[in-house]
Symmetry: C2
Subunit: 559 residues, 2 copies
C-alpha cells in the first residue's frame, strides 16, 4: 500500500478544466457564470430565474448511519455517485455544503470528498472559497451592530437589553468569545450587557440563506428574525430596526450557487453550510432547485446520520422547498458496523464478522426510518482496504432481509469506475417511480406532538420529557402563529438516543428537551436535547501550527 496517494496529492495532480467549460456542459452561457479564478464560478440570479419552467431531474439523497470514529465517507460517496451517474451516461450534478474556515485551524481540515472521489479546488473550498461565509458573517454582525446602535440612540423600540436574542458570529474557533460583556468603557460605548459570539455556520442568517428561494424571499426572512423582546415580552424583529434591506445587499452575491468540478470534470454545486444540530444541515435550496433544472440527476447529502440529517432534509428542506426525493442512498462501512457491534477503534483492522452482524442493527434502523418517508433506499458500502469478503457479505445479507440491497463501492480507489453498480441501482429505483415522498408529520400538528413524532418514530424513544416552561413556550409560539413551523432537532449525532455512547439501535429511551428556540427567519423551531456547542475551541496543539505555504506556493498542513 506504499503507492497509495493522499487526498491532497491526488487533488494537486488533477488537471482541472476551465470552469466556463464545466458550466457550458450544463448549458450555462459564460455571461451568466461569474468566475472566481479559473476554477470556481457563481451562477447568475438572472439565469436561475430563466430556468423556472423547466422540468426537474431526479433527486438522490445520500445519507448515512450514525457517524463513528471509523468514518463512513458520506461526502466521498456523494461525489463518487455523481461521477458514477455521469459515467453511465446520465447528466448528473452534485450538491454539497461549503466548509467552515474556523475549524480548519483546530484539527486537520475537511476537504470535499476523498481519494479519487473529490471536488476541487480543495484548498480554496477549505479557506475563503467565494466569500459566502464572510458575507454571512458581515450581514449577521451588521444586524448586531444595529441593535446596540438602536439602544444607544434612545431605544425607540424599547428593546429589553436583558432579552436580546441576537449574538454575534465569527468564522473562527474562539472560546474566549463565547461569553463576553460588551459596551464597556463609558457613555460613548453604550450600555454594558452580556453578549457572545457563535461560529458563522451557527448563524440563523446561514440557515435563512440556505432555505430562501430567491433574494425577495431572503429579504422577507431576514426581516422576520427576532432580535429580542420588549419589557412586555413582545418580539422585536430585524425589520423593526430596518436592517433587512442592507443585510440583503450584503448577501446578494452569496445567494448565488457556486460551481466547481469533480476530479472527473463533472459539475458540483457547493453552496451554504448550516449546522446540522441547531440548523437543518443541508446545502442551499437555490443550489438544489437550480441543479434539478440543469441535470437529469442531482446527488445531494444531508448532515450527520439519517436520524438527524435525512429527517431534517425531508421534514424541513423538502417540505419547505417543495422537493420530492426519488431515492436515498445510506452509506455504511464494515468498519463502522464493527464499531457499532462493540469493536474498539484499535481493533478495526481485524476481521470480525460477528461484530459486523451485531452492528448492522444501526444500519437497519436507518433503512426502516428512511422508508417511512416513502423514499426507496439502497445501501452503499464504502470500501476500505481492510474490509474482508466475509464482512461485506454479512452486510449484504443483512440488508437483503429488509427488502433492500447493499452494494459495494470502490470510488475512493477507482473513482466512477468503482461505483457503477450503485449508480445503476440508483437509476433503476429512481426511474421505477416508486417514491411516494411525504414528510413525517403535517404542518398543523401541535409543536410538542411533532417532537414526539420524531422521537418515537425515528429515534424509537419511549417518551419525550420537558419542563412546564418549555411546553408553555411552545404553546405561546402556537398562539403567536408559529405553530405550523417544522421542528429542527438538536441531538447528539452519535446515537439514536441522546446518549452519545449508546451505539446500535436503542429503543424505549427518554428524550429530555432542555430548551426550545424560535428561528422565525429560517422558519423552524430548534429543540435542544443536550449540550450544543455553537462556538468551538481550539485544541492544545492546533493544526494551524503546522499550516504554511511551501516553496512552491502550495499550502501544507491544511489536510
Amino acid at each position: 500500500m506504499a503507492e497509495v496517494k493522499s487526498d491532497i496529492e491526488i487533488a494537486r495532480a488533477a488537471k482541472k478544466k476551465p470552469i466556463l467549460e464545466i458550466g457550458a456542459k450544463l448549458g450555462i452561457p459564460s455571461e451568466h457564470l461569474l468566475p472566481y479564478g479559473h476554477d470556481k464560478a457563481k451562477i447568475s440570479a438572472e439565469f436561475i430565474a430563466q430556468q423556472k419552467d423547466k422540468k426537474n431531474g431526479k433527486l438522490v439523497l445520500v445519507t448515512a448511519i450514525n457517524p463513528t470514529p471509523a468514518g463512513e465517507g458520506k461526502t466521498t460517496t456523494t461525489v463518487g455517485l455523481g461521477d458514477g451517474l455521469n459515467r453511465i451516461g446520465k447528466k448528473a450534478v452534485i450538491c454539497i455544503r461549503e466548509a467552515s474556515l474556523g475549524p480548519c485551524f483546530g484539527v486537520k481540515g475537511g476537504a470535499a470528498g476523498g481519494g479519487y472521489a473529490q471536488v476541487v479546488p480543495m484548498e480554496d473550498m477549505n479557506l475563503h472559497f467565494t466569500g459566502d461565509f464572510h458575507a454571512i458573517t458581515s450581514a449577521h454582525n451588521l444586524l448586531a451592530a444595529l441593535i446596540d446602535n438602536h439602544i444607544y440612540w434612545g431605544n425607540e423600540q424599547n428593546i429589553d437589553i436583558r432579552r436580546i436574542a441576537w449574538r454575534r458570529v465569527m468564522d473562527m474557533n474562539d472560546r474566549a468569545l463565547r461569553e463576553i460583556v460588551c459596551s464597556l468603557g463609558g457613555v460613548a460605548n453604550g450600555y454594558p450587557r452580556e453578549a457572545g459570539f457563535d461560529i458563522t455556520v451557527a448563524s440563523e442568517v446561514m440557515a435563512i440563506l440556505c432555505l430562501s428561494n430567491d433574494l425577495k424571499d431572503l429579504e422577507k426572512r431576514l426581516g422576520n428574525i427576532i432580535i429580542g423582546y420588549r419589557r412586555d415580552k413582545t418580539p422585536v424583529f430585524a425589520r423593526d430596526i430596518k436592517a433587512d434591506g442592507a443585510m440583503t445587499v450584503l448577501l446578494k452575491d452569496a445567494m448565488q450557487p457556486n460551481l466547481v468540478q469533480t476530479l472527473e470534470h463533472n459539475p458540483a454545486f457547493v453552496h451554504g453550510g448550516p449546522f446540522a444540530n441547531i440548523a437543518h444541515g443541508c446545502n442551499s435550496v437555490v443550489a438544489t432547485t437550480t441543479a434539478l433544472k440543469l441535470g437529469e440527476y442531482v446527488v445531494t447529502e444531508a448532515g450527520f446520520g439519517a436520524d438527524l440529517g435525512a429527517e431534517k432534509f425531508f421534514d424541513i428542506k423538502c417540505r419547505k422547498a417543495g422537493l420530492s426525493p426519488d431515492v436515498a442512498v445510506i452509506v455504511a462501512t464494515a468498519r463502522a458496523m464493527k464499531m457499532n457491534g462493540g469493536v474498539k477503534k484499535e481493533d478495526l483492522g481485524k476481521e470480525n464478522i460477528d461484530a459486523v452482524k451485531k452492528g448492522c442493527a444501526n444500519l437497519g434502523r436507518h433503512i426502516q426510518n428512511v422508508k417511512k418517508f416513502g423514499v426507496p433506499v439502497v445501501v452503499g458500502i464504502n470500501h476500505f482496504y481492510s474490509d474482508t469478503d466475509g464482512e461485506i457479505q454479512a452486510i449484504k445479507d443483512y440488508v437483503a432481509t429488509l427488502g433492500a440491497e447493499a452494494i459495494l463501492c470502490k470510488h475512493w480507489a477507482h473513482g466512477s469506475a468503482g461505483i457503477e453498480d450503485l449508480a445503476r441501482k440508483v437509476v433503476e429505483l429512481a426511474e421505477s417511480g416508486q417514491s411516494q415522498f411525504a414528510p413525517l408529520y403535517p404542518d398543523e400538528m401541535p409543536l410538542f406532538e411533532k417532537i414526539e413524532t420524531i422521537a418515537k418514530s425515528i429515534y424509537h424513544a419511549g417518551e419525550v420529557i420537558a419542563d412546564k416552561s418549555v411546553r408553555d413556550q411552545l404553546r405561546s409560539w402556537e398562539e403567536q402563529g408559529y405553530g405550523n413551523l417544522p421542528i429542527c432537532m438538536a441531538k447528539t449525532q452519535y446515537s439514536f438516543s441522546t446518549d452519545p455512547n449508546l451505539r446500535g439501535a436503542p429503543s424505549g429511551h427518554t428524550v429530555p428537551v432542555r430548551e426550545v428556540r424560535l428561528s422565525a427567519g429560517a422558519g423552524f423551531i430548534v429543540v435542544i436535547t443536550g449540550e450544543i456547542m455553537t462556538m468551538p475551541g481550539l485544541p492544545k496543539v492546533p493544526s494551524s501550527e503546522k499550516i504554511y505555504l511551501n516553496e512552491q506556493g502550495y499550502i501544507e498542513g491544511l489536510f
Copy 2:
C-alpha cells in the same frame, strides 16, 4: 444643472470592458489574471515575480491640502489624471486603496472617484470586493484566538494576560465592541480579561500586507508582530506561538493586487487600505511596484492631506519599498481655500476672492513641504460649478509666487478631456528628471528626534512635548533594536497642528505626544497626538436603513 447625473447613475450607465481585455492592455496573459466576476481580477504572484527585472515607469503622487467639509476630490483627481495621461498617449496605471465595508452602513459610502472620473464596479468596491479585507479580518482574529488558546492550555510562553497587545477586528462600525471583557462563563471558556475590537483597516495585518514585498516578506513580518509581554516585560511574538504560517495561508490571495477599470477603460489597481492615522494610509507596495513594471506612468494617492499622507508615503512607503516619486500633484479647490480663509460651509456658494487668497496659506505650506522631499510639485484645482474665474485666478497667482503652477481640472464633468493640461504638466515635470527624492530624516536618527523633525519641518510646530514614560519607552525600543524604524504620526487630518479647528497654516504650536505604539510587524512606531478612534460607531439614523436591492437588482442607498 438639472441634467447633471449622479455618480451612481454615471457608473451604472458605464459599459465596462471584460477585465481580461484590460489586463491584456498591460501585457498580462489571461492565465495570470484570476477573475472575480467579469469586471475584477487578481494578478498572479507568478506573473508579478516575472516582471522583477523590467524598468520602472514614472511614479506620480496625488496628495492634497488639509481636508475640509467642502471636499477636495483627491481620488477623483487621481482617477482623472490616470485617464488624462492615457488620453495624451502615455500608458498609465492608477493605484488606489480599497474601501472599508463597515463605514458604508453609517454614512453614505465612499465610491471610487466621482463624476466622469470613476473606477468601476463601484458597488463591489464598496462591499466585499475580492474579499481582501475579510481575509485580513480572518488572519488577525486567528492570531487573537491562538493567543487566548495558548493561555488556556497552560501559557507556556508566560504571556501576562494584563499585557496582551493584540485586539480583535471586525469590518463594521460597532461601538459596543470597543471595550469588552472576554472569556467569561467558567473554566471551559478561559481566563476572563479585558479585550476589544478595532475596525479591520486599523489592523496591523492590514499595514503589514500593504508594506510586504511578497509572501515570504509577509510571513516574516507577521511573525514579528508583538502580541503581548511576559511578566518580565519581554515581548512575545506571533512566531512564538507559531501563528505566522497559517496567517500567511489565509492572506495568500489577498496579497495579489486587484485590477479594475476606469469609466474610460484604463487599468486601475485597487489594493489594500490601511488607516492613515495609526497606519501609513497608502495602497499596497505590491500593487505600486507591479504597476511601475507594467505602465509608463503610475498615479497613486496618499491618505488625508499632504502633512500626514504625503509625509508617510515618502518616509514610510517609499523609504521601505525603495520607490522614488517623480512628481507630486497637490489637489486643491476654491471652496476649500474659502473654508481655510474663514468662510462657513453654508456660504461656500458665494464668490469670495479675499477668502480664497487668505486660505491659500494652507496650500502654500503643503507645496513647500512636498518640495522638502525633493519632489517637483504641480497644483491641480479640482473644478466645482460654483467656482468663479476670479477665485481660480487668485489660486493660480498665489501658486506662481511659490515657483509652481496651478492648473484647472474639469475631469469630474468631462473625464480625461477635462484634465489634459495637468497630464501634460505632469509629464513635463516627470521627464525633466528634476526629482531628487530623499526621505525627511535618516534611519539612524534617534526616535524622538525623528518626531521633532516631522513636527517642526512639516507641521511648523514650535516644540514636541512628551511625558518621561513616552521618552523612556522610545529609548527602550532603541535598545531593543527598533531605533531604525520610521515614525507613523497619528494626528488630526484637519490641521497642521493637533487642533482640528486651526485651519490655514499655523506655526509655533505645541505637539503633545500622548502615547507611542510599536508596530513591529509593519515596521514603524506609531506616535499618537490626540484622540484616535480605531472603532467607529454608527449615527442615529444609519445609512443602512435606506440601503436595499431594488426591483432591477440594483443596490440603492449605498452612494
